[in-house]
């Protein structure tokens, strides 16, 4: 009598392949956020020469077109801040803006957006919480990886 159940070695093989596929998917997703992080750091590079210390910590993830993400950040009056955003999707357009705790646009006018890079500059008028809003405005991808870094001086 032949059994319809797969033998142990087949089950193991399928389980192994599934685990490998899952691991590859996780690694690919992580790699893309890492790529986005590299682009965000690339935006920050010129500012390091101006004395900005870029934090090692960063935020990242993926967003659909038109989706936004808010990051709450404690900022101090007396410091100057830049937030840099990047994605590895070169045909995407991303944006970053800073609002104060009351929801009022707080960034300086030299904040900029250039395709898959964007940056927002803030000289806080008061110490407290600010909201950094990141968005993917357009992209050929369904989900677009993004990363945000910040620096201060």
């Amino acid at each position: 009598m032949t059994s319809m159940r797969p033998d142990v070695s087949t089950t193991r093989r399928v389980a192994f392949l599934f685990a490998a596929a899952l691991a590859l998917q996780v690694a690919a997703s992580r790699a893309s956020v890492d790529d986005a992080h590299s682009f965000a750091l690339e935006s920050a590079e010129p500012y390091v020469k101006e004395g900005y210390q870029v934090r090692e910590d960063y935020w990242g993830g993926d967003l659909g077109v038109g989706e936004k993400k808010a990051v709450r950040q404690q900022l101090f009056k007396g410091n100057e801040y830049w937030f840099w955003m990047g994605t590895e999707v070169e045909r995407a357009k991303v944006s970053v803006h800073i609002y104060d705790a009351d929801g009022k646009l707080a960034e300086q006018t030299d904040s900029w957006q250039k395709g898959h890079f964007a940056a927002a500059h803030l000289v806080p008028k008061s110490t407290g919480s600010y909201f950094v809003i990141v968005a993917v405005d357009s992209s050929p991808e369904e989900r677009t990886h993004w990363a945000l870094v910040y620096g201060f001086k």
């Binding site: 210390q53 090692e56 910590d57 808010a70 709450r72 404690q74 803006h97 609002y99 407290g128 919480s129």
Partner: protein, 264 residues
Amino acid sequence: MRSFFNLFLAGIWVASVVQAKAADAPRRIDVKRLSKTIEDVVVPLPNEIFGALNKLDSVNWKEFVRTDKGSNFTERPRIALLLGATIADGFIAVQAEDAPSVKEIGQRVVNLAKGIGVGNSIVPHAKAITEAADRRDWNGVRQELDRTQNSVQQAMNEVHDEKLSQLVSLGGWLRGTQVLTSVVDRHFSADGAELLHQPDLLEYFQRKLANMPEFNVPLLGQIRNSLVEVKPLIEAQSPISAASVKKIHQITSRLDERIVTRTP
């Protein structure tokens, strides 16, 4: 004429880009509607606060440099808190431009990190700290201290010790706040006191501490209770008073003493 025309077109293009930029961002948003999409705060580095403080007043950082080795703990939450406070001490030594202390603190950080099993991740940073301190490259030391803290916390997160990682941040924040309040208490200014206006950060730590019932360490309970005392002092809509600064300094000094010494 042609170059004038080109210049005119370029002017229109620049104006349209600037206008598009201005039009892109709404002038006002409803922050209450953001609640579902908000990411957790990144805890500021102590030198982010020290830098702002330095711009307000000349601070004698040398008097805050601390290099004593402190107690040796076996409880991992206590090591994590002390590690955070010690990294903050590193930033203070950098402010004081005290190279021997920076190097000593670098070694202390390595030993503490080894105590919770993440020493290997920061050995290269400790070496870089020593080299940068020898060159008196203070920005380089600051960057390496940030990398050290980041590497320690990443190593902890990788082995699902996120809670210890949060205690590292808390230890650094408490030490930073103790020094900040000490400076502002001595030479009070409204701008200096305003640097304490950090209610969301305090709430963040309260939330994280509330989620650590498995750590049976009395010090964590003391910190939890102390944060309850601090909260109303920094939440005030009106300027933070000299009396509040003094009170916060007393509270954070008491906690710092308990973090660095062997008390139950």
